[in-house]
């Protein structure tokens, strides 16, 4: 009887351990398989692969600079938009909204996070791109586009496609993630701290700015980096609205591409081993960059969790 129990225990425990090790294996597998798949491209073009703008399937000459640039610019634009809005939403939910209202609004914002990214992409292509082309782009080109240095960022025909549109849609997608992290960590602030500040006569905004934010600073930055990780790797939403152009263009209003969009658009069209390898190499670069950003984010979030646990 006891013997059978011990046998069952070692079988069950072994299975559970194997499944756990499998999780580690998946991460290692992603890194290794994309490195191996991209190796021919890395070997052929060397380190300059990441610094060249060439993208010529006919001559089989590839460089990753344009997609890397597009990925970084769209992600940064999205964070410029998402961070203040997410901060506002988190303040509203924790400080302004009356209790019965906070729950439903919180749930609605979380619904925004649940919408599949391809729906954002379609909405972007059929609704938001025409909106940008008709209203925003011409206005930007006529105002900011005339400035001496900054103007280069806002020049070109108002197509509606491009890094600005992609950055805005990414920003909308990332808002709920960042807002949820901020809301959760804001509630971790000990009420004694908040109440002391109120007792001294501080306004709600002063409590947020001078008490809540300093206390949760590392976790807030962690949440922002979590959002950045999402924005860097997001595929469908940007593939629809970037325009898939590999020509280097400073203008945020001109068609461009990103790592994820290039892979999604061109993978099934890749007609040579070098082409395919270049796309997988892009995937490897994307994985390494998001991995670093996410590790940084998690470490910052863990710090507050530990601090609050004490």
């Amino acid at each position: 009887m006891a013997h059978a129990g011990a046998r069952g225990d070692s079988i069950f425990g072994g299975l559970a351990l194997a499944a756990t090790a499998f999780v580690l294996l998946v991460l290692a597998g992603i890194a290794l398989s994309t490195l191996i798949g991209g190796w021919p491209a890395f070997a052929r073009f060397g380190a300059s692969f990441v610094a060249r703008t060439a993208w010529d399937p006919v001559q089989r000459d590839f460089g990753a600079l344009v997609p890397i640039y597009g990925t970084i610019v769209t992600a940064v634009l999205s964070m410029l938009l998402a961070v203040p809005i997410a901060f506002g939403i988190a303040i509203f939910l924790t400080e302004v909204a009356p209790r019965p209202l906070a729950g439903p609004i919180s749930a609605a914002i979380e619904l925004l996070a649940g919408i599949p990214s391809i729906i954002y992409g379609m909405w972007g292509l059929f609704v938001f791109v025409p909106f940008m082309a008709d209203w925003v782009d011409p206005w930007l080109a006529a105002s900011l586009g005339r400035l001496p240095v900054l103007g280069a960022l806002f020049s070109g025909p108002p197509l509606g496609l491009g890094m600005l549109t992609a950055g805005i849609i990414l920003g909308v997608m990332v808002v709920p993630f960042v807002a949820a992290v901020m809301r959760d960590v804001f509630t971790l602030v000990p009420s004694a701290l908040r109440e002391s500040a109120f007792a001294l006569g501080a306004t709600r905004w002063e409590v947020v700015w001078h008490v809540v934010l300093p206390y949760t600073r590392t976790a807030v930055v962690g949440g922002i980096f979590l959002g950045l990780g999402r924005a860097l790797g997001e595929t469908m939403a940007v593939t629809f609205v970037l325009g898939n152009a590999h020509d280097f263009n400073l203008s945020l209003l001109a068609p461009s591409t990103s790592i994820a969009a290039a892979i999604a658009n061109e993978f099934t069209e890749a007609d040579s081993a070098t082409y395919l390898s270049a796309l997988i190499a892009l995937g490897f670069i994307l994985f390494v960059v998001t991995f670093i950003v996410l590790v940084f984010a998690k470490l910052l979030l863990l710090r507050l969790a530990r601090q609050a646990g004490r």
């Binding site: 499998f22 998946v26 599949p116």
Partner: protein
């Protein structure tokens, strides 16, 4: 000390009102975008709804048709992904909660699992392309299901781990005191106690993978015809939406909107269901 000057107090009040006003505006903006996106999908999608969606195949350009093969394909992909990913995920979560606890190995796996949770799905698609599609020589439904399974896995691991750790320690002690071996304690006491939480995790995972498109582009690809064979390219709703939306044909656009509506309604219903289950448990 003198009382604060009225002017200063007025300024602080104004800053407070401005900041809170902007915060409310940000929330309003978020809700407006939510309504805008859902409203667009509903209006365009509802116009294209009809029984033909589930009776006819995806058409060639210009012809009439439906989404029957894509809906069936997506169902198969998600089903197989759950059958593959869920058991592994639950077992791994079990190890973390019951065996690993706070040991360094368990903490490392939790950390890695959280990274996987946010890892770009397009890269997971490339991974499966390398380990399944390339060795087998062709795109297939199996590869698509495996890719979705890898995306489901970390969701299940995390929720299983979290809900099992919430089960009171007294239940464990009572079971062990009766002389039950640990595996019986887990399968017959802890699993039933954590049932709702594990189910919630599964539903959240299903909501997540149902809309995934990027990883399917390099694995299941698409198939214009009815196919029940997972050994070959398999039609699925997300990839059909992607191809039809980017095409120049109006009839394809309207099918893409219909697919988008079906997908959005399914995903939102599943996530609301998951949330309701979760709330029922905490109350």
């Amino acid at each position: 000390m003198s009382a604060p000057r009225p002017l200063l107090r007025g300024r602080r009040k104004a800053v407070n009102a401005l900041a809170l006003g902007l915060a409310s505006l940000a929330t309003l903006l978020g809700l407006v975008v939510l309504v805008w996106i859902l409203g667009t999908t509903l209006i365009h999608g509802a116009a294209a709804l009809g029984p033909h969606l589930i009776t006819q195949m995806t058409p060639p350009p210009g012809a009439a048709g439906g989404l029957a093969n894509a809906i069936f394909g997506s169902t198969m992909l998600v089903l197989v992904a759950v059958l593959v990913g869920a058991p592994i995920g639950v077992l791994a979560g079990t190890h973390l909660a019951e065996y690993g606890r706070a040991r360094p190995f368990a903490e490392l796996v939790r950390f890695v699992n959280d990274i996987l949770l946010s890892a770009p799905s397009v890269v997971i698609g490339l991974f499966v392309y390398q380990i399944v599609v390339r060795p087998s020589g062709h795109f297939s439904g199996w590869a698509g299901a495996v890719a979705l399974g890898f995306i489901l896995l970390p969701v299940v691991v995390r929720t299983t781990d979290e809900t099992m750790r919430l089960v009171p320690i007294s239940l464990r002690e009572a079971t062990l005191a009766l002389g039950a071996p640990k595996w019986r304690m887990i399968t017959q006491v802890i699993y039933p106690a954590a049932r709702v939480g594990i189910l919630t995790g599964l539903l959240l995972g299903i909501a997540r993978i149902s809309g995934e498109t990027a990883p399917l582009l390099f694995t299941a690809l698409n198939n214009q015809y009815w196919s029940m064979d997972l050994g070959h390219p398999l039609a699925n709703v997300p990839v059909v939406i992607f191809q039809f939306a980017l095409s120049p044909y109006d009839s394809w656009h309207s099918l893409a909107w219909a697919g988008a509506l079906l997908l959005t309604v399914f995903v939102l219903v599943v996530s609301v269901l998951a949330r309701t289950l979760l709330r029922g448990r905490t109350n």
